[in-house]
Symmetry: C2
Subunit: 279 residues, 2 copies
C-alpha cells in the first residue's frame, strides 16, 4: 500500500540504503529517488533495485513528497537550509540521525506547515556501513524514536509512524534533548568504551583476545566519520554520562584495591541482574 508518491533519500548508507530496499519491496512509494555524494553509490543502489533514479545533485529532491535525510549528522544539519529551500510545498522532511537536539534546533528555524519536519532515530544499525551492507529486515523488531519539532502536522506524523511500522519498527515519541540524554548512555557511551578499550590494549597482546574482548569492541569497527559527528553533536550529554561511568570505574578500582569481597559481589550481581533483564 502506497504511503507516499515520490520519496527521495539523501545518503544511501546502511540506513538510507536499507530504507530504500524496504520501501521498494513493500511498494510504499511509486518512485524512489536516491541522492549520494558518489555516483558509484547511486549505481550500486540502482543495481540492487533500491532506487528508481538518482544522482549526486541535491536538486533531485525537488519532486519528492517525502525527503529522508540519511547522511552523517553534521553534514545533515549543514544541508538543512538548502533542503528546505528545494523541498516542494507540502513536502514532509525527516532525518534518521543518531543525535536529535542539534538537528531539531536547526530544523525548527526552517520548518512550517507546508514544509513539515519530523526527527526520527531508528535504533537499528551495525558496525558495518554502506549500501553494500544494506538489506531487508534491519528495522524488524526495532524501536524508532520520533522527535517532533516546533511545527505540528498530525497527518504527516501519522504517515511517518505508519512508515516505520511497515518497516517492522515500533515508534516512541521523545523530546529531542531527552533522546540525546538517553542515547548518550545506551548507545554513545558503549561506543566510547569500545573505541577506548581497544586503544588501551597493547597491540602485541591482541593475539590473546577471546570472545570477551571481541564482543565488547566489535562496534569499534564502526565508521569513524559517522561517530565523529555523533560525539561532536552530543558532547555535553556525553561528558555527563562519561563522568557517571568514570565514578563507577573508580568505585570498582577501590573495591579491588581493598579486596572488598562483599562490595565486589554486590557490584557484579547487580550488573548481571541488569544485563540478564536485557534480552
Amino acid at each position: 500500500m502506497k504511503l507516499f508518491d515520490r520519496v527521495a533519500i539523501v545518503g544511501l548508507g546502511l540506513i538510507g540504503g536499507s530504507m530504500a530496499l524496504e520501501i521498494k519491496k513493500r511498494k510504499l512509494a511509486s518512485k524512489i529517488i536516491g541522492v549520494s555524494r558518489h555516483q558509484k553509490t547511486i549505481n550500486i543502489a540502482k543495481k540492487r533495485h533500491a532506487i528508481d533514479s538518482g544522482g549526486t545533485s541535491l536538486g533531485l529532491i525537488r519532486e519528492a513528497d517525502l525527503i529522508i535525510l540519511a547522511t552523517p549528522v553534521i553534514k545533515l544539519i549543514q544541508s538543512l537550509p538548502q533542503v528546505f529551500k528545494l523541498a516542494k510545498k507540502g513536502a514532509v522532511i525527516i532525518d534518521v540521525a543518531s543525535t536529535k537536539a542539534e538537528v531539531l534546533l536547526a530544523a525548527n528555524r526552517l520548518a512550517n506547515k507546508n514544509k513539515y519536519f519530523l526527527g526520527c532515530h531508528p535504533l537499528a544499525g551495525s558496525e558495518k556501513r554502506g549500501i553494500a551492507n544494506a538489506g531487508l529486515g534491519l528495522f524488524k523488531g526495532s524501536l524508532c524514536v520520533l522527535t517532533p519539532g516546533r511545527v505540528a502536522n498530525k497527518n504527516a506524523m501519522n504517515k511517518i509512524s505508519r512508515l516505520w511500522h511497515k518497516l517492522g519498527a515500533k515508534t516512541i515519541m521523545l523530546d529531542p534533548k531527552k533522546h540525546d540524554e538517553i542515547l548518550s548512555f545506551t548507545s554513545h557511551l558503549p561506543h566510547i568504551m569500545a573505541f577506548s578499550l581497544i586503544n588501551t590494549v597493547p597491540s602485541s597482546y591482541l593475539k590473546f583476545a577471546a570472545s570477551g574482548l571481541k564482543d565488547t569492541t566489535r562496534i569499534a569497527s564502526s565508521d569513524p566519520g559517522l561517530w565523529e559527528d555523533i560525539f561532536l553533536t552530543n558532547n555535553k550529554e556525553l561528558v555527563r554520562s562519561l563522568n557517571k561511568f568514570n565514578s563507577s570505574i573508580i568505585r570498582f578500582k577501590k573495591i579491588i584495591e581493598k579486596k572488598d569481597r562483599n562490595s565486589l559481589r554486590k557490584f557484579l550481581r547487580s550488573a548481571k541482574r541488569k544485563r540478564d533483564s536485557l534480552e
Copy 2:
C-alpha cells in the same frame, strides 16, 4: 588414542564439563571421574556421558593419573594442599583457571617430580556457565596458555600440550605473571567495562538498548562468583590496566569538550584499525 589412563576433573562447569565431553568423545582416557560440590551436577554429567563415575568427595582423585582442577580460582588455590596430598605418585595435576600467578605461587610450594603441576588457561569461554552449557567444540581454534611451575617434567608437559592440541587448541608458553598482565588487558578489563557500563545505564533507559549496548555488555551476564575470584587474584595488574584505560577515557573527554575534530578522528581511526585487525 589414549593419552591418560584415569582422568579426574574437579569442577564440572562450562570448562570442566566441556573437557570431559571432549576427552570422552576422543577416547583420550580409559576412565573419567567427576568431582563436584553438587551431586546434581554429577548426575547431569553422567546423563550427558561426560563422566564414567563421580561424586562430591575430593578423595575420588586418588586413582587419577591426570587431575584437572576446574573450580573458581580462589577455591582452587585453597584446595591445592589437599589435592597434592591425595594425588598418587606420578600424577599430573593441571588447572584451567583464568589467573595464574597466585595459582603457581601456591602450586610451586607443593609440586615435585612425582606430583607434577602445570598451569593451563584455555582462552575459551562464554557468559554462559555450568555443565548444562558445556559442549563439544568449545576449544576449537582457541589458544591455551601454559604456565609451567618451578618443577620441570618434559614428558608430562608434552602430554598436556598434546591433550590441548587434540581438543583443537593451539598452545603457548608464558610466565604466570606475564600471563596475568596480558589477560588483565585482553579479558579482565573488558569484563570490568561490561559490568561497569551496564551498572551506569539507568534502568529506565534499557528499553532503548540496541545491538551496541547488548554486544558491549553481553559478558556482564557472566558468573559473578567466577569473576569475583578472577578480579581478586589479579587485582594489582588490574589496577594498572584500569589506570591506563582511565587515561584513555579522560583524553577522549577532553577531546569532545574542546570539540577537537582532528584528535577525535585520529582516536577513532586508530581504534577502528586495531579492531579491524582482530578478526
